[in-house]
Subunit: 212 residues, 2 copies
């Protein structure tokens, strides 16, 4: 079973590595990193490149696709990622996204009238593109699975692993990656973090200069 | 402030991407991926390569180092990762590991008589190398920080982000990566998963054929 993990310039690394580390452990799965062209693809910090081993054009029938978020919006309906989703989605068993990866799904027309989620900062944009936004951490509707921001891809991966291989295999993978989270703070959602921490995110972390 | 993230053949990707995604967001941090030679370095699944941009030899004075785990043990005290840790540890502000990365720290002599942790399956080996094993998820002793298996690197990253930049910045990063974990199962530790799931991990997931 081929699972294709999409890469594009300025993607967010944990968005894609979270589900990859879970799903690639399922016996029988072949994981492939796919981009517009094979070769290194730079993440949103600029400090890291992951290597794509196949192009979108040659990856025509993956059983599952996973699209990560990133700091750049897709350039409308003609973005290479959007075109690829539109091409392969009709024959996938699962079409999945993490974080603002759901913006790409929406632009490909996959989420029209469908409940889906995204990073908390992008739910309004998701709605404006025709999806029905949900603040749930993992949303499964039919064969479309979307996860909230960045780290939610691990929860998405485990949810899909259970669907693909059964609950025991999903639990074994959870144990293998020792996913027994103990965050030192409880600030993982806007409601829990409060307005001052939200402001700090907006003002400090995601400025474009830092991303370059 | 330079943080050097170590790579070596058959490292585990989430071990290093978890802390990277947290620590690289701290304003003023320069993240560098380092390996024996610059270029692509293959992960333990064989499906993914991350690109190192600097060699161990030219990375002589990082302020922090983070060493991931992987499926191969270091080849004794002369492993390139072990030699690099021994060279740079004396001048780091923080020396950190995730999962079996602590085995490399131990082989470098950094953990002699020091409390430290590792993947649950490697605590005995850690003890045999002179460390005092702990089952805590994140262990900080002086300037040495070790995390339990794979996903524990995110908790380590947030803990160190608070030490480096204050609790508010750590909380802002937690919110930015929406780290509000909601695993679909509660099987993230041996005690929670039970013996049957542990057996499934040993028998199915980590066989060498799968890793190739």
């Amino acid at each position: 079973m081929q699972i294709a993990f999409a890469l594009y310039d300025r993607f967010t690394a944990l968005d894609i590595i979270g589900p990859f580390q879970v799903l690639a452990e399922i016996p029988g799965v072949t994981a492939t990193f796919v981009a517009e062209k094979p070769g290194p693809v730079r993440d949103h910090t600029g400090a890291l490149s992951l290597v794509a081993t196949a192009s979108f054009d040659e990856t025509t029938a993956p059983r599952m696709i996973v699209v990560p978020g990133g700091l750049v919006d897709p350039n409308g309906a003609d973005d290479p990622v959007v075109r690829w989703i539109r091409a392969v989605h009709p024959t996938t068993t699962w079409t999945a996204s993490v974080c603002t990866g759901s913006i790409y799904l929406a632009r490909a027309g996959v989420l029209d009238g469908i409940e889906a989620t995204s990073h908390w900062g992008s739910l309004e944009q998701l709605a404006s593109l025709g999806a029905v936004p949900s603040a749930e951490r993992v949303v499964i509707r039919g064969r479309i699975a979307t996860a909230a921001g960045v780290s939610a891809g691990i929860d998405l991966g485990l949810t899909l692993a259970a669907r693909l291989a059964g609950a025991d295999v999903a639990k074994a993978i959870q144990l293998a990656i020792e996913y027994d989270p103990q965050p030192p703070f409880d600030a993982g959602s806007p409601a829990k973090a409060g307005p001052e921490i939200m402001e700090l995110v907006m003002s400090t972390l995601h400025d474009p200069a830092h991303a370059e």
